[in-house]
């Protein structure tokens, strides 16, 4: 086939994908006819992602998703999206007249999930920015109620803070109770990293753990004693809570919403999206956007991240040190400081693999239900 013919064939395949086609590139035999275009060919990453999206739609994953013009718009967005970050540049298609220079051509079907995720996270970040942040529910402040300052487990404190704000109980005020929410240290670390992913992003889970282990320090939000000192907590006005059933009482409410612990795939996807949102929205808007994502991200059934076996000795010694510090400080404890010791059995899988994350990303792109429905907060007895 001539060079022009090959290029026309590629543009024909692009048109096929734009129409919702699912034929792999190497099986694409159509010579393209009049499909030649002056536009640059998208990279293999963008094209393969679009084909996977089409497959997901065809398999019914996108029943409430895009059709017709909406699909064409989605296809254009995917084909023009940049693969976020300093990875590979857009890869040319195998079988086209190859330049002597530039990256080697590839079969799109062989592009790794990691590469496809770089494009998918950019598309989802744009979706999120377009969606905008959910409004924060707040009512008249009730200053006669107990004032509080929440520190510790970021998943629990973020949910509680938001719930209390909606009930007229904003955090802070004069002489608040400093309530430090504890958990087994491995859980506390996993929750802290997960929450970071839904705020401004983070290093990958295992890198993040290694960073702290090699420094032999705990992240600011994990170190309960340091968190209490940062807010000038004085002994009578401090509660270290390790028994979460009693947390509502110490915040002056009967119930708190159930805390949703994102799975490893959700956190990893959020981590990648956060990096792109940082390029799409002003820094001041990112926390609210990422909180919106945290509320709306669909469940996938994947377990949360776990501490790998090689870090467990450090986690155990850090928990013992933190327990000693809190004991010496003499803060009132609700529960038992022994509960800060890591409890979980070593995680078989410490995080999500790229395929799981890609599956979730594809589901979110083809099924925009998460962008339509309002997040609901369920209240449960604690």
């Amino acid at each position: 086939m001539t060079a022009a013919g090959s290029t026309a064939r590629a543009h024909g395949w692009v048109a096929h994908l734009r129409d919702g086609g699912t034929t792999p590139w190497l099986a694409w035999a159509d010579d393209g006819g009049s499909a030649a275009s002056v536009r640059a060919l998208p990279g293999a990453q963008q094209l393969e992602l679009l084909r996977r999206l089409n497959l997901a739609v065809a398999s019914g994953a996108g029943r409430s998703g895009a059709r017709g013009r909406d699909h064409a718009r989605l296809a254009d967005r995917v084909l023009t999206a940049s693969a976020a970050g300093r990875g590979k540049a857009d890869l040319p298609l195998l079988g086209l007249p190859a330049s002597s220079f530039g990256p080697r051509p590839v079969d799109p079907a062989g592009v790794s999930a990691h590469e496809l995720l770089r494009v998918a996270s950019a598309v989802l970040a744009d979706d999120l920015v377009e969606l905008g942040a959910d409004p924060v529910r707040r009512t008249w402040a009730k200053p006669w109620r107990r004032r509080f300052r929440l520190v510790g487990d970021p998943l629990v404190t973020t949910a509680a803070r938001e719930h209390l704000l909606g009930r007229g109980r904003p955090e802070g005020g004069p002489r608040p109770f400093v309530v430090a929410v504890g958990a087994p240290l491995d859980v506390l670390l996993a929750h802290t990293w997960t929450q970071r992913c839904f705020e401004h992003g983070s290093r990958p889970w295992e890198d993040w753990l290694r960073f702290w282990r090699q420094r032999d320090q705990l992240p600011a939000r994990v170190d309960l004693g340091d968190s209490v000192r940062r807010w000038n907590g004085r002994r009578p006005f401090v509660r270290v809570v390790t028994d979460l059933d009693q947390l509502p009482r110490h915040l002056g409410v009967r119930h708190l919403p159930e805390v949703r612990v994102p799975g490893a795939d959700q956190a990893e996807l959020a981590r990648r999206i956060a990096a792109v949102v940082g390029l799409r929205a002003p820094a001041s808007e990112r926390p609210a956007l990422m909180r919106t994502l945290q509320r709306r991200i669909p469940d996938s059934g994947v377990a949360p991240v776990g501490v790998p076996a090689r870090e467990r000795a450090w986690v155990a010694s850090s928990a013992a040190r933190m327990t000693r510090e809190l004991t010496r400080a003499g803060y009132p404890v609700v529960g038992d400081l022994a509960d800060l010791a890591p409890r979980s059995a070593p995680a078989a899988a410490t995080g999500a693999d790229d395929e799981q994350v890609l599956e979730l990303a594809i589901r979110m792109i083809v099924d925009p239900a998460w962008r339509r429905t309002r997040a609901t907060t369920r209240e449960v007895e604690r």
Binding site: S82, K88, D90, G102, F211, V276, L279
Partner: protein, 396 residues
């Protein structure tokens, strides 16, 4: 007046920092001569590049929101010649190039690429990697970039910003060849002003009264200094976050301390790598010669110097690492002392502010009011009363 845009897209390590510094500092003079270099801050075009290419960059990217569109808008609104310059534009994909060129409107776009021979670029890029937290050895770096698969992060980035014929294909595909200007860096030993003369000619700056003082450069390191920095990276990269690494390691250690050792051996290529680089360069020169670009300098400049004495940075003996290591310790101690002084001053200012506040609050009336408020705050009823009082007071 016709609108022209001179779009300088690379390559890294080709004197771009100096050029950009001259353009940034002389914006007013340039405007008087109808040339726009639109930059409110020195790194404005770097931020625009991050935005255009969706490149997170250690947190700096949060300052890049909308930076490309802002830059393009200023260029579109300028009636004369505009200059856009940053070396990482070299990495743009065909789709990003298409978007970039479309957003510049109907201006006559001239693409500028400054290029240096691979014999000097390869060691310079390894050094740049080391100054950006990498602890890859020189041998591993060379293996990585010589791997035709280019599968690694380092390999794909290196070729994306250094493979001159490919960059020009991506950026220049839609432009007439006479609007593509390839500025070659003069060979080693050339007159120091020659590179500026080539830039000046290409960007139409000849005869303008510009301040050419070198205020901002990206200095290179010697072999033992680079080797030491790489070893330091092995220890600290995983425990020093990028926002701390930049001022402490790259600025204080690399740029301000280790780059001063001008007598150290300079990094080059081993005979085998040199032969490979030369062969590759010849194929580039052959390809470029047939494209009809405007070459400022000579394509032969891209062949690179003859092989010199090679000092392997992966096997620098300890006694050669000692002097730069002592320099590094001294520099960090001085920096530590400076930061302690800053901390001390801030504590002092805070103490003075607190004393001033306390003096202002020590009146009898204030003490009585304080007592009442403290007592009321101890009970729910008291807190409610206080809140009602405060609301009434706000309304009145």
């Amino acid at each position: 007046m016709s609108r022209r845009v001179l779009l300088h897209v690379g390559c890294p390590k080709t004197g771009t920092s100096y050029l950009q510094d001259v353009l940034f500092r002389n914006q007013a003079t340039l405007r008087e001569h109808d040339i726009l270099y639109p930059a409110e801050r020195f790194d404005a075009h770097f931020l625009a590049a991050l935005d255009l290419m969706t490149l997170p960059w250690g947190g700096i990217e949060t300052e890049a929101v909308g930076a490309w569109d802002h830059l393009a808008e200023q260029v579109r609104d300028w009636p004369g010649t505009s200059i856009v310059s940053h070396e990482i534009f070299a990495r743009a994909t065909p789709t990003q190039v298409e978007r970039a060129l479309a957003s510049l409107g109907d201006a006559e776009v001239h693409l500028v690429l400054s290029a240096r021979d691979l014999v000097r670029q390869v060691p310079a890029e390894w050094q740049e990697n080391v100054k950006h937290r990498s602890h890859i050895t020189y041998a591993a770096f060379l293996r990585t970039i010589r791997d035709p698969g280019r599968d690694s992060r380092i390999g794909s980035w290196f070729w994306a910003v250094q493979e001159v014929p490919d960059i020009l294909e991506r950026w220049g595909a839609s432009l007439p060849p006479e609007q593509v200007h390839l500025v070659t860096l003069p060979p080693p030993g050339s007159d120091r002003g020659e590179l500026w003369r080539r830039f000046s000619r290409t960007f139409g700056l000849d005869g303008l009264p510009l301040d050419l003082t070198a205020e901002r450069e990206n200095p290179s390191l010697g072999v033992p200094e680079t080797s030491l920095l790489r070893t330091i990276n092995e220890r600290v990269t995983s425990i020093i976050a990028p926002p701390d690494y930049r001022p402490l390691v790259r600025e204080t250690l690399a740029h301000q301390t280790l780059s001063r050792s001008v007598a150290s051996a300079r990094l080059g290529l081993s005979p085998d790598d040199h032969a490979w680089a030369r062969e590759l360069s010849r194929s580039w020169i052959d390809a470029l010669a047939g494209r009809g670009y405007d070459v400022v300098g000579s394509l032969d400049d891209l062949l690179g110097p003859d092989p010199g004495t090679f000092t392997d940075p992966d096997s620098v003996p300890a006694d050669e690492l000692l002097p730069p290591a002592l320099d590094a310790i001294s520099a960090l101690l001085v920096e530590g002392a400076r930061l302690r002084a800053v901390e001390e001053r801030l504590h002092e200012e805070l103490r003075e502010a607190r004393e001033e506040r306390d003096r202002a609050l020590m009146t009898t009336t204030h003490r009585v009011k304080r007592k009442i408020v403290t007592t009321l705050e101890d009970s729910p009823a008291g807190r409610g009363t206080l809140d009602a009082y405060r609301r009434i007071k706000r309304r009145s």
